[in-house]
Subunit: 230 residues, 2 copies
Amino acid sequence: MKSLVLPGLDRPEGMTTHDYAFARLRQAIMVGAFRPGTSVTIRGLADALESSPTPVREALRQLTSIGALQFLENRRIVVPRITPARFEELISLRIALESHAARRAVAHLSDRQIDRIVTLDDAIEAAILAGQKAQALIANQQFHRQIYTANPDQVAMPLIESLWLQLGPILGIAMEHVTEFYVIDRHREAIEALRRRDEDAVAQAIAADIREGIGGFDQQAIGKLLALAG
Amino acid sequence: MKSLVLPGLDRPEGMTTHDYAFARLRQAIMVGAFRPGTSVTIRGLADALESSPTPVREALRQLTSIGALQFLENRRIVVPRITPARFEELISLRIALESHAARRAVAHLSDRQIDRIVTLDDAIEAAILAGQKAQALIANQQFHRQIYTANPDQVAMPLIESLWLQLGPILGIAMEHVTEFYVIDRHREAIEALRRRDEDAVAQAIAADIREGIGGFDQQAIGKLLALAG
DNA sequence: TTCCTAAGAATGTGATCACAAAAAGAACGG
DNA sequence: CCGTTCTTTTTGTGATCACATTCTTAGGAA
């Protein structure tokens, strides 16, 4: 049985079943395809991915290591719930980590790379205008990732993505309830700062971008949703 | 065959084979029992832990998710090598993350908890005086963990431990070559700041503690070792 | 000696199965 | 109608096995 819920993701040939399952589930969680508190089963996902329990269990175990899932005491596997306090911690950590990563990326960014970042920002706007929420979210993540990974020795990206994964489920709820996008574009501000190679300004723009709108969503609205979903 | 290399770790009854394998391997890497570049095999570890490939493979996969191990393209599993640049990134991230975590823990610390932190600091000194390097390392980690986890909603600890794991192997090398401990005790400074509930001072003391000596080791010495071990 | 090739060994991968624990449902008694 | 107990089903766990890939090593040719 092939799942209709999991966002599609082509499987490059040569990729192991485990890697495919991991990538697929990870992507699904990151874009909010699972709601907080949802429970998943190994066999169920194995069927959905048309494989067997072994590689799926490995993928699920990996996802717990990065906070995307949770193995409960009763051996149930669930998408973690988020309290308002935990949400606030995650956001403040995002700000700390990502402004740090952005600052340390500035020196490594070539003009050509900055041009590519601008292209990604355009893609975000295009997705928003087209009403493709999930696509806008993915493009926004790519925008951030492109900046941080310019630093070749960077080690923060996996940690940042762990935070994105933990915030994913709540974004999924937000996407259902928010009809209007708040495009408070700190991205242009960040890009200008990148062009000037102004580390402080870049860090500040990224911090503001995170604080003011989580990937285009209004934070207050999410706060209210948390009271319900927590 | 039971391994003599892996640090012992009692297996509480009811703990699954997988959890035991994960905890055991994680602890081993964290205290530097494996050198950078070391390759491990699933069957080998399964024998050492007197179990089978399945739970061990799951544990190894989890360890790769947090940067403690690496699955190479050729399907070999190795302890990642660390370049001087990567080392510097890890340290700067530790400073960013841990001073952030410390700052946000201050408000939650009771006087009783601070007393317990002092006890842990005494344990570090005792271990150093007794020449028990690994024990001193563990006690030092407990000291830091005790502070950060005082914040009940904290989400940074797993990320911080990921950094500790990535630094573990290099600490293992350092422990072999460094005969003298440099006890630059910023811990007392941190404790005093905690007592005053002075967030800035706490963050500063933690940052200085990390910068000046990684768990009691001289950083410059590690830098030199990296040139050889990278 | 050096390089290349081929046979054998070692290793990761993934499906399967038996088992135990937990959850869900059915039957019964108050 | 509600709660309890027993049965059935579901589900995670871990050992095992077959397969494909990779590594190792032995042998031979230049």
